[in-house]
Amino acid sequence: MAPRFNYLAYPYRRAADQDAAKPAHHAVVVAGGGLVGLAFAVDMAVRGHDVLVLDDGDSVSVGSRSICVAKRSLEIFDRLGIGQRCADKGVVWNTGKVLRGDRLVYAFDLLPEPGHRFPAFVNLQQYYVETFLIERFAELGRGELRWKNKVTGVASHDDHVALEIETPDGPYRVTCDWLIAADGVRSGVRRALDLPFAGESFHDHFLITDVVMHSDMPVERRFWFDPPFHGGKSALLHKQPDDIWRIDLQLGAQAEREAELKEEAIVPRLKAMLGEETQFTIDWSSLYTFQCRRLERFRHGRVLFVGDAAHTVSPFGARGGNGGIQDVDNLAWKLAAVLEGKAGGGLLDSYEAERIPAADENISNSTRATDFIAPKNAAMELFREAVLSLAEEHAFARGFVNSGRLSVAYQCVDSALASADEGVFAAGVAPGCPALDAPLADGWLMPNLGGEFVLLLAGIDPAPFADLPLRTLAVAQGDDRDGLIAARYDLATPGAYLFRPDQHVAARLRAPTPESVTAALQRAMGVA
C-alpha cells in the first residue's frame, strides 16, 4: 500500500513585523493559506511579486475535501509550476455510473477529446495540492507564509488597508496596499467588513468519509439514488490516490452531528455499503450541510474576495475548489498589472465583472444538483422519481438525472475586456473564452501561451508586431502537428488571436495590424 499522507505541522515563527515600532507595510497581503490563497500567492510569485500570506492554522487541509481537479485547474496549475505533479499523483477518471436501488440507470464516459495535455479530471486530495503549492511558493523564494497568524481586524481606507493579526505571541498590526481575502466560507475578513453573504442553506446532512482499502473496483464515479445499503438516501463512491476512497452518504435533515461522527455509527454504514468481509480503515470523516451563497460584490475598494470567501457552493459538480482556482487565474495578472503601473485600479473591477457571473453559474448548477439529490418538496420528489424511473429505458430522461454537473471553465463572452471579432470567425474560440489546448510539434499550446499577453499568428508575418508589449507566437503549418490549432481556432485561413495572461482570448483578427492589436490590448487592460 502506498504511504498515506503525513501531515506536517508548519512552524509558527515570530516575524520582525511583530517587533516593529509602527505597522510594517506590505504591497499585497493574502488572508488565508488554503487552496485558493496559496494558489494566488504562487501566481503572484510567478509574476515576480512578493505577497505575505497569513494563515490561522499550521497545516494543510485536514481531510481530502476538494478532490476533483478539473482540466482547467490543471492547466492553471501548470502555469504555476505544479500541473504535472498534480496530474502524476492524481487518479485519472473518465467514466461513471448512476444507479437507482441495485440497478444501473446509466453509465457515462466523459470521452475526453484527444489532443489536450491534461485529462478532463483527476482526483487528488486537497492536502496534496496545498503541499505542492507550499513547496512551489518556497522554491520561488518570493514573499512569506506566516502560520498561526489570524486576521482579526480589517480597516479599509482609500489608500491602504490596516490589519490586526493575532498570533501565539499576541497581536500585531500591518498595513497593505491590497488585501486578498481567501479565508474560506467562514471568512473573517468578510465578517470584519460586515458584508452580507446572501443565499441558501440546504438542510440535509451528508457524511463524508475517506476509507483506506485495497479494492479492484474500477476507477469510476459511482452515484446511487436510494441504494440497497442506504435506503431512501443517496451515496457516492470515488477513488483517490493512496488506496483511499471517498464515500459520501446523505443522512437527511435530522442527523445528529455528535452521534453520526462516532466510529460505531460510521462503521456499520460503511460495512453495509462495502460488504462485511471488506477490510478498511477510516482515514477521515466529516459531517456537512451545504450552502450556496455569494457576496454581492467581490471587490470592496482595496479588498478583493476570492474562492469560498466570495462564493460557496455545494460539492456536487466540483465547482468550489475549481471555481476558486479560476478566480485566482483571473485576478492575479490584473493585480500584477496594477502593481506594475501598467493598468489602473479599474482593471480590478473587471475581476468581479467576470467572476460574479461565473460564481452565479456555479451556484445555479450546484443548487440544481443539490435539489435533485435532496428534493425539498413533494413536487421535486415526484419528478425525480419520474425521471429516474424513465431513465433506465429511455435515453432522453438521463439528461434530467442530476448528480452534479461537472466544473468547466467559465466563458466570459460578455466581458468588457473582450474585443469584437475583426473579420469572420465562423468557428474557433470566442473572445472571453479560455484557450483550448492543442499539440505542437515540440510540446503543447497551453504552456506556450504561458502567463503573459501572447499574439498567436497563423499565416501572418510576426515582424510588424515586434515592438508591441506582448509576445508573438507564430504557428507555421509544421508546428500544428495534428492540425488541431487550425481546427479549434478556425485558423485554416490566416488569422491572429490575442490571449490574455490568464490564457483567455482577448481578441481575434483576420488581418491584424499593430494598431488594431494595440487597441485590443488596451481594451484587455481595462482602457476601453
Binding site: 415526484l382 419528478f383 422519481e385 419520474a386 424511473s389 429511455h394 432522453f396 430522461a397
Partner: protein, 66 residues
C-alpha cells in the same frame, strides 16, 4: 428551437385522447396517478423537442394565468 406554443386544435380525435388519459388513471392510487402524470409530462416535453415551446407551455399551464 424558438417555436411558439400552438394552442389551436391539433389532435385529430381529442375525445379519444382525453378518454385514454382518464382510463389510464382510473384504477391508479393518487400517488400512482401523480407519478404517471409526471412521467407523461417528461415524455411529452421531450417529444416537443423545442425548449422555448416547453417553457411557454409551463407558463400557459399555470392555473392563474389563463
Amino acid at each position: 428551437m424558438t417555436g411558439t406554443l400552438d394552442t389551436s386544435p391539433r389532435l385529430k380525435r381529442p375525445d379519444d385522447v382525453y378518454q385514454a388519459l382518464m382510463d389510464a388513471q382510473k384504477t391508479m392510487t393518487a400517488p400512482e396517478a401523480d407519478l404517471f402524470r409526471a412521467r407523461l409530462i417528461l415524455l411529452l416535453a421531450n417529444q416537443v423537442g423545442d425548449d422555448a415551446v416547453v417553457l411557454a407551455a409551463i407558463e400557459a399551464a399555470r392555473p392563474d394565468v389563463s
